[in-house]
Every structure is written in structure tokens, then in C-alpha cells.
């Protein structure tokens, strides 16, 4: 057994303290998220349902009609599935490519399970659609061990079933580029508004005496620690057609008809700003608190006008807080789901909505995984930036 030096021993002991949490996160976060992402390019269910076909179709180059072994594999797998009454699952997968494939798979499965089993050629004769090379090219996409179908779908592209060439989907079906742009746009807009409100607020708060600062901070922190759901609910109530905000505006004769504030972009953004503002404010406030008054005073004693001193001395010193607050707000905005779901209309939904949609309504885990992958990549890129800019950990000596 190797003998560790005392320093190594201590490192090992320290590492031992991190192991429980690290193991917990690995098992219950990193592995699940990893295997979720794998689902975006691979369908583990297909391998289980159609093992023969998946193996054989890999050996075929995808041009013309496939060799007989592939047809035999399809027949055998479908026969097994038909007896287990699970052929519909495969039919559903195939129907995602072309709705006509559902009936084709179901009738092929019924034939394949018959006694005696039909010869491969007889199967092709009985199901006309199976005689088309384009069908097989499409099936190859469904049953291949790895597929780019779902990832392409997240950028509104698909493979042509006949040629395999990548092309844009018709604009009537294209939703994801728009949603991605909307997600980034709303996040950027909310971040900008938050910064615009938080910076002057922090500037004012740090200049108050201790008691006043405590009062003002309570106004920021009490909403901050109220659940996002409760705050979204509050806005839903306030912004309703006959809600508090509309009533107030009408009674002040500012408007004559109630405004449509719920199920709108305005309502969504308003509630998001309300929820995110403390996240932007707190880092800026804590940086401003650490800047001594002397710096700007020194600048003005050297003859700088207040505006010039602010721009050249104070503003640059606060930039780390601004960066931290904005990055944090932007990252958190990207993943919003509850607030747009409650306060937004159909055209205000963000990427998270589609993850939930593909899980709950249109049960398609691969598509949900592909959308997750896009969302995750953007988030991680900004998170890495954040962790590098803002020290997440302050260590102590000894």
C-alpha cells in the first residue's frame, strides 16, 4: 500500500467530506441530465423494441431497396411486438416522420405475426408502401442507433425522407428558431430593464444611513423570498381585466377600456422584472457598498465635474457587480416556465414551455430532450462565463 504524505493525507480527508454531496449530485443530477441529453440523439426504447432491425439496418447504406436481411429483421421484430401488443409504440415513432407510416407498420405487424410467417417478399407485396425505397430511407432514420432528427427539428430543419438531404421545414411548421429568438429576446429585455432600475436603486440605497438602508433592503428582500409562484399569482390577480391595475387606471381616467394585461407579453415581462430585480440589485449593491467615498471625492477635488467623476471613476468600479447581476438575471430568465405559463399568451412561451409540452401533452421524450439540450448549452455557456468572472467561493487560510 502506498503511504501518503501528510499533506496528501489531509487533501484526501478534505476530499472525503465533499464526496457525499458530489456522489449525490452525480447520481441524481449529472447522470440524469447526461442521459437526458443522450436521448436527444438516441432512442433507448428503439434498441429495446426492435433489436434485430436496429442491428441490420446499420449495415445497409441507405440507397435503393435494403437487402433481404433488413426486411427479415423488420418482420421478426414486428412479429414479436405484435404478440406483446406493443407494435403501436413503434408505429407512433414512425408516424412522427410520416403519418401514413402508422397504418403501414400496424398492418405489417399483423401480417408478420400470422402463422405461418410470410416470406420477406410476400410481406413487401402485401404492404405496398414497403416497396418504396423512400420508406426504407425514412425507417433507417427512425431505427438508426443515433439520429439527428430531433436536433435538426430544434433548428426547424429536417432530412428529406427520400434523399436524406437536410432542408428547412415549411415556415408553417417552423416554431423553434422563433421560440429561441423570443427566449433570448425576453431574457435580454428583462435583464436590461432590471439593470436600468437596479443600478440607480443601489446607488441611492448605499447612500442612506444604516436604519434607512435596512428599511429599503427589507422592501427588496421580502419579495425576493416570496415564492415565484405566489408572485406570478399576485400579478395574475393585479393585471386581470377587472383587476386592481385596470380598475385604478380607469378610475383615474387614464384609460377608458380595460387593457389586456394578462396573457400578454407585457404582463409576462412585468412579472419577470419583478421577480428578477432583486437578483440584479443585490450584486450591484454589495459592490457599491465596498467602494469608499474617497475615490469620487478625490476625483472632484482634482477638478472633475460630478458627471465626469461618476463616469471615469465610480462606474468602472461598479462594473463587476453589474456583470454579476446581469449574467445571473439573464441565466435565470432563460429557464422561465411558470411565469410565462400563467401570464403569457401562446405567443409568449419560451423554450422551457416546449420541454414541458413534449413531456406532458405530446409524449415525445426525445424531442423534449433535444429542446433541453439547446436550452442547457446556452445556459452552461453563460454559467461558465459567470463562474470565471464572479468568484463563487471565498476560501480561508489554514
Amino acid at each position: 500500500m502506498a503511504i501518503l504524505s501528510p499533506a496528501r493525507m489531509q487533501q484526501a480527508r478534505l476530499f472525503g467530506l465533499v464526496v457525499p454531496l458530489l456522489a449525490f449530485m452525480t447520481v441524481f443530477l449529472f447522470v440524469p441530465v447526461g442521459s437526458l441529453l443522450l436521448r436527444a440523439v438516441q432512442d433507448p426504447e428503439i434498441a429495446q423494441l426492435a433489436p434485430n432491425l436496429q442491428r441490420e439496418i446499420r449495415t445497409w447504406d441507405g440507397t435503393g431497396m435494403p437487402p433481404e436481411a433488413v426486411v427479415v429483421a423488420l418482420r421478426d421484430d414486428l412479429a414479436t411486438l405484435q404478440r406483446d401488443r406493443r407494435a403501436a409504440i413503434i408505429a407512433k415513432r414512425a408516424a412522427a416522420i410520416d403519418p401514413a407510416f402508422r397504418e403501414m407498420i400496424m398492418s405489417a405487424a399483423r401480417l408478420a405475426a400470422a402463422e405461418p410467417q410470410p416470406a420477406p417478399d410476400d410481406l413487401l407485396q402485401a404492404v405496398p408502401k414497403l416497396r418504396e425505397p423512400a420508406t426504407w430511407a425514412a425507417l433507417r432514420g427512425v431505427f438508426a442507433p443515433f439520429t439527428d432528427t430531433y436536433l435538426l427539428a430544434t433548428v426547424d430543419h429536417a432530412r428529406d425522407p427520400a434523399t436524406g438531404a437536410i432542408r428547412a421545414v415549411p415556415s408553417s411548421e417552423a416554431i423553434f428558431i422563433d421560440t429561441l429568438a423570443r427566449t433570448l429576446g425576453i431574457s435580454l429585455g428583462v435583464t436590461a430593464i432590471c439593470l436600468f432600475l437596479a443600478y440607480p436603486l443601489a446607488y441611492v440605497v448605499v447612500r442612506q444611513n444604516r436604519t434607512m438602508q435596512a428599511v429599503m433592503l427589507t422592501f427588496v428582500l421580502l419579495p425576493f423570498w416570496t415564492s415565484i409562484l405566489v408572485r406570478s399569482a399576485a400579478w395574475l390577480v393585479l393585471l386581470q381585466t377587472h383587476g386592481v391595475v385596470n380598475d385604478a387606471l380607469i378610475s383615474m381616467s387614464i384609460i377608458s377600456e380595460p387593457l389586456k394585461l394578462v396573457f400578454s407579453r407585457a404582463g409576462t415581462v412585468l412579472a419577470m422584472v419583478h421577480i428578477q430585480l432583486p437578483f440584479t440589485f443585490l450584486p450591484i449593491y454589495s459592490v457599491m457598498k465596498s467602494i469608499p467615498d474617497d475615490y469620487t471625492r478625490a476625483a472632484s477635488s482634482l477638478g472633475a465635474q460630478p458627471g465626469y467623476a461618476f463616469r471615469k471613476v465610480y462606474l468602472p468600479l461598479t462594473l463587476p457587480g453589474v456583470a454579476a447581476g446581469c449574467l445571473l438575471t439573464f441565466i435565470l430568465c432563460l429557464g422561465y416556465y411558470i411565469t410565462p405559463a400563467l401570464l403569457g399568451g401562446p405567443s409568449d412561451q419560451m423554450l422551457s414551455y416546449y420541454v414541458a409540452y413534449y413531456l406532458n401533452q405530446n409524449v415525445n421524450w426525445s424531442m423534449a430532450a433535444a429542446v433541453s439540450l439547446v436550452l442547457l448549452l446556452i445556459t452552461l455557456a453563460i454559467y461558465v462565463l459567470y463562474v470565471r468572472m464572479v468568484p463563487v467561493l471565498r476560501q480561508t487560510e489554514s
Binding site: 416570496t226 415564492s227 405566489v230 390577480v237
Partner: protein, 267 residues
């Protein structure tokens, strides 16, 4: 140097704007509370009258009370698991000798930054595969993933002023490591651990997306029940639950502040 009229005006305007922003933050939260006392089933001001009928309705509703029970079970279990996990890790990560501490911290804080829908979906698929979807254990595991980073943050913060030489001193006087931990270390960092535990509880108490994805009808938590209610019909009983959630969160956070404040004075 006396401030000019111009700079005083700027200061006055800024102060006014700051209060507008502060009221924008606070008022929507406070506006919920009186609505829960409305005697009529409307959610608008002025109140038709003051009554406790919606409180009575919530307290006698098996659905809401079941949700309250689920929330408490999951919240307390989350605290009991996430607090020790986060505390132990914090202990090692704040030491200068700990290798790769920044990277590890970055990894362990990821649940705070990841889109919660993605975490919820990943856990749903994973828990389904191991047969724990729609179970208390599954929901508790999921909430621990989200809550542990909060424990980590608040315990590492409370360890910032801790003198690790005391541990060596304790050991050199012959105390066993566990004895040192319970009699030397824990009393000093207890406020940080307690704050971490409070934040862990609130994370679980307020959480709705994971509960929506991972929990079954048997584990409907308060936020989940509230989300369903918001989409079906809005009535003051939802405002009652919102009020209860606000009061509990604020009470717990205030408790955390008091604990830390008292500890800071004792130092």
C-alpha cells in the same frame, strides 16, 4: 463643498425613483394579503367586506390540507438530507488546501443555474426508470438536488471567519474529531447551518416545477395545488394559500436573520 441646487435636485429625483421601484417590488406581494379576507368571491379592491370564510374553506378542505401535509413532509425530509450533505462539503471547500475547490463549487452550485424544467425532466425520466417517480422519495431526492446548493452557499459564508486552528488545538488536546466537531466547530457555525437549513426548507416549500413533473397525485404539494387552482379558477382561497406561503417564508427568513445577527454580536 456645498452641494449645488442641481445636484440636490438630482438627488431628490433619484430618491423618489428609488421609492417607486421599492414600492413596485413590495406592493404586489402585499396586495395579495387583504384579498384573502374578502367576503365575496372577487379578487379586486375595494373589498366587499371582511371575512374569514376563505380561511375556513381552505382549512376544512381535504385537498389543501393534504397538500400542506405533503409540503411539510417533503420540506422537512429535504432539510434533513440536504443540510448535512451541504455542510460537510462546505467544510472542505473553504479550505485553501482543498484541490480544485472552485471547479467543484461551480459544479455543485449548478442546480441553482440550470433551467429547472430541464432538471425536472431529467429527474422524471431517471426516477421513472428506477421506479421512484410519483413517490415521496423521488420528490424528496429532487428537492435535495435543488436545495443543497443553498446550504453550501450559506455554510461557506458562515465559515469565512472561522479559525481552523481551533480544530488542531482541539485535536492536540486529545479530543476525537467528532467531539471537536460537536463541541468546538458546530457551536460557532450553527447560525450558518441553521440559515442553510431554512433556505433548504424554503426551496422545497416554494418549488413548483419539479413537483409538477415528478410528483404523482399522492404527493401534491401546496405550490402544485396552487398552480392547478390558478389555471382552473381564481378565487380568494388561492389568496389564502398565497398568504400562508408568504407568511411562512418571511417568518423563516426573518428567523435566519435573527440567528445570524445574534451570532455576529457574540463574536
Amino acid at each position: 463643498m456645498t452641494p449645488t441646487l442641481g445636484s440636490r435636485l438630482v438627488r431628490f429625483v433619484l430618491l423618489g425613483l428609488a421609492w417607486i421601484v421599492l414600492l413596485f417590488l413590495m406592493l404586489p406581494v402585499l396586495a395579495v394579503i387583504p384579498l384573502s379576507f374578502n367576503s365575496e368571491p372577487f379578487l379586486s379592491y375595494p373589498l366587499a367586506g371582511v371575512s374569514l370564510r376563505w380561511y375556513e374553506a381552505v382549512l376544512s378542505s381535504p385537498q389543501w390540507m393534504g397538500a400542506l401535509k405533503s409540503s411539510l413532509i417533503v420540506g422537512i425530509a429535504t432539510v434533513l438530507i440536504a443540510t448535512p450533505l451541504g455542510t460537510l462539503a462546505a467544510f472542505a471547500l473553504v479550505r485553501k488546501r482543498m484541490p480544485h475547490a472552485q471547479v467543484l463549487m461551480g459544479l455543485l452550485l449548478l442546480p441553482m443555474a440550470l433551467p429547472v424544467v430541464v432538471v425536472a425532466l431529467a429527474l422524471y425520466i431517471f426516477l421513472t426508470r428506477i421506479g421512484l417517480a410519483n413517490s415521496y422519495i423521488g420528490l424528496i431526492i429532487a428537492h435535495c438536488v435543488l436545495a443543497a446548493p443553498f446550504v453550501l452557499v450559506s455554510v461557506t459564508a458562515s465559515l469565512a471567519g472561522f479559525d481552523f486552528a481551533q480544530i488542531r488545538a482541539g485535536a492536540s488536546l486529545g479530543a476525537a474529531p467528532l467531539r471537536v466537531f460537536f463541541f468546538v466547530t458546530l457551536p460557532q457555525i450553527a447560525p450558518g447551518v441553521a440559515t442553510g437549513a431554512i433556505f433548504a426548507f424554503i426551496t422545497s416549500w416554494d418549488e413548483v416545477v419539479v413537483a409538477l413533473f415528478v410528483a404523482g397525485p399522492g404527493q401534491r404539494t401546496l405550490p402544485r395545488q396552487m398552480f392547478a387552482g390558478l389555471r382552473e379558477q381564481l378565487d380568494p382561497s388561492i389568496m389564502v394559500v398565497a398568504t400562508i406561503m408568504i407568511v411562512i417564508s418571511v417568518f423563516l427568513v426573518a428567523l435566519g436573520f435573527v440567528l445570524r445577527h445574534r451570532a455576529a454580536r457574540r463574536r
